[in-house]
């Protein structure tokens, strides 16, 4: 028994000694085997020092770093790639692009006497669900946003007016952007356009408005969109 125990102890000592003395060689050997075998490292959650450096030689089709997945088809909830800050997601790539603000809606409701909020009652898409009560955009994140509004006068409405379109900060009650356009009296649709970019604050409401406007003529259609500029 003692002989067997001593034998195991000797073997253990030898192996540990071998590992310590030839650590680099063992690592290299293991590394080579991992390369050869295309090792599956499933379910790994590794803490690491943050640097990946490739030594691949570039040509016109070379990719230095490639991240791939199994097929992800649920675009609304799956993420191909996320960046987090200690658990809080800051950047998510889904199947249709980055999961950031993208909204477009349209409507046909005449807003009534000036000044008035523009109604975009039909939402084509609203990736972060930020359009509220058909009139108000409430961003979930602060940042730079682009916006566009096109308001069409109804066919055949008489008189010339100069309505001003505004992108309005509801909290501070001021216009972030505005555009004034002359609408003429001829019997054909005309458009007022507002286009701009502005820094928006999270959790504050913003509306498209029309001012200097009377309802002697009628809006036949209006559409707008807002998206976050990255």
């Amino acid at each position: 028994m003692s002989y067997i125990k001593q034998s195991f102890q000797a073997m253990d000592t030898y192996v540990n000694s071998y590992i310590n003395q030839h650590e680099i060689n063992i690592r290299d050997h293991l590394h080579d085997k991992m390369v050869e075998d295309d090792v599956e490292v499933s379910q790994i959650s590794r803490n690491y020092a943050g640097l990946w450096k490739t030594n691949i030689s570039p040509n016109s089709t070379t990719i230095a770093h490639k991240l791939d997945t199994q097929t992800f088809i649920n675009a609304s909830s799956t993420a191909i790639f996320t960046l987090c800050n200690s658990g809080t997601i800051k950047f998510t790539l889904g199947d249709y692009g980055l999961r950031t603000s993208k909204f477009r809606g349209y409507g046909t409701t005449d807003p009534g006497a000036s000044p008035a909020n523009i109604y975009l009652t039909t939402t084509e898409f609203d990736t972060l669900n930020e359009w509220e009560s058909s009139t108000t955009f409430v961003p979930k994140n602060s940042g730079l946003y682009a916006f566009f509004l096109n308001m069409k006068k109804a066919l055949g409405t008489a008189n010339a007016y100069w309505p001003t379109l505004q992108f309005w900060n509801n909290y501070s009650s001021y216009a972030l952007a505005e555009a004034k356009t002359k609408l003429n009296s001829a019997g054909i649709a005309e458009s007022c356009i507002l286009q701009g970019q502005a820094l928006l604050e999270a959790n504050i409401g913003y509306t498209f408005r029309v001012s200097s406007y009377t309802n002697n003529f009628f809006i036949s259609a209006v559409y707008g969109y807002i998206y976050r500029v990255l």
């Binding site: 192996v15 790994i44 020092a49 450096k53 490739t54 570039p58 791939d68 997945t69 980055l98």
Partner: protein, 226 residues
């Protein structure tokens, strides 16, 4: 996890415990794992310490990438690239800048394609200068802008972006009155969610009662909204 090799050169047998110990040692010490294509669980946590210049995850290259078309990063969904960055830092996503080079005569009350026959930028080769049609390679969100400049007269000029898919462009065309000495340009913009292979064409119409010339430098731009 287990590896197929069990012996080092001297014939010493290693238990799975020792192999795991070595593997952990390798991961902790970040030894180069060149050329490995790892299948893994997808979660990497950086232990970089917070500081004003800290970078949690960094991807670098040994050689300098300058070849046209080479990429620093490609993020794919089962082999299909969804996000890529070229060697010069540009995103590998739709960006089209195109314009017209000649005067085009537009018949009265006839919806007509604007002849955009020159392009200065087309990252994914999605714009055909012969047909003036943009065809999206990928499903995604796109901002499309068109602008024409008229030989001024007193008439109404409309501009629309038309797609041949179910998303008709005519519900939000821009229609402005073009007056001599006043407005001469008409522009239109739209944000779209396009499926792959959807096509877009810039179109113009007017009611001048006679042919209307639109100038060169009509412009058409498309960018993928990230």
């Amino acid at each position: 996890m287990s590896y197929s090799f069990q012996s080092i050169s001297s014939g010493v047998m290693l238990s799975s415990t020792f192999i795991n110990k070595i593997e952990t040692n390798i991961m902790e010490h970040q030894h180069g794992i060149n050329s490995i294509t790892n299948l893994y669980g997808g979660n990497w946590t950086s232990v970089v310490t917070n500081a004003s210049t800290a970078v949690a995850h960094k991807f670098d290259t040994t050689e300098t990438f300058v070849a046209s078309g080479s990429k620093l990063l490609s993020v794919c969904n089962s082999g299909t690239e969804k996000f890529g960055i070229y060697h010069d830092g540009n995103f590998a996503m739709t960006k089209v800048v195109a314009y017209s080079t000649g005067i085009q005569s537009i018949a009265d009350a006839t919806i007509t394609a604007v002849q955009i026959n020159t392009k200065t930028l087309d990252i994914l080769n999605e714009f055909n200068v012969s047909s003036s049609i943009f065809t999206a390679v990928n499903t995604g969100y796109y901002e499309v802008l068109g602008k024409i400049t008229c030989g001024v007269t007193s008439t109404y000029v409309g501009l629309q972006l038309w797609t041949y898919t179910a998303l008709g462009g005519d519900n939000d065309k821009t229609f402005l009155r073009v007056n001599s000495g006043y407005t001469s340009s008409v522009q239109h913009a739209r944000l779209w969610k396009l499926d792959a292979n959807a096509t877009i064409l810039l179109q113009v119409e007017h009611d001048a009662g006679t042919n209307l010339n639109i100038s060169s430098m009509s412009t058409f731009t498309v960018k993928r909204v990230l």
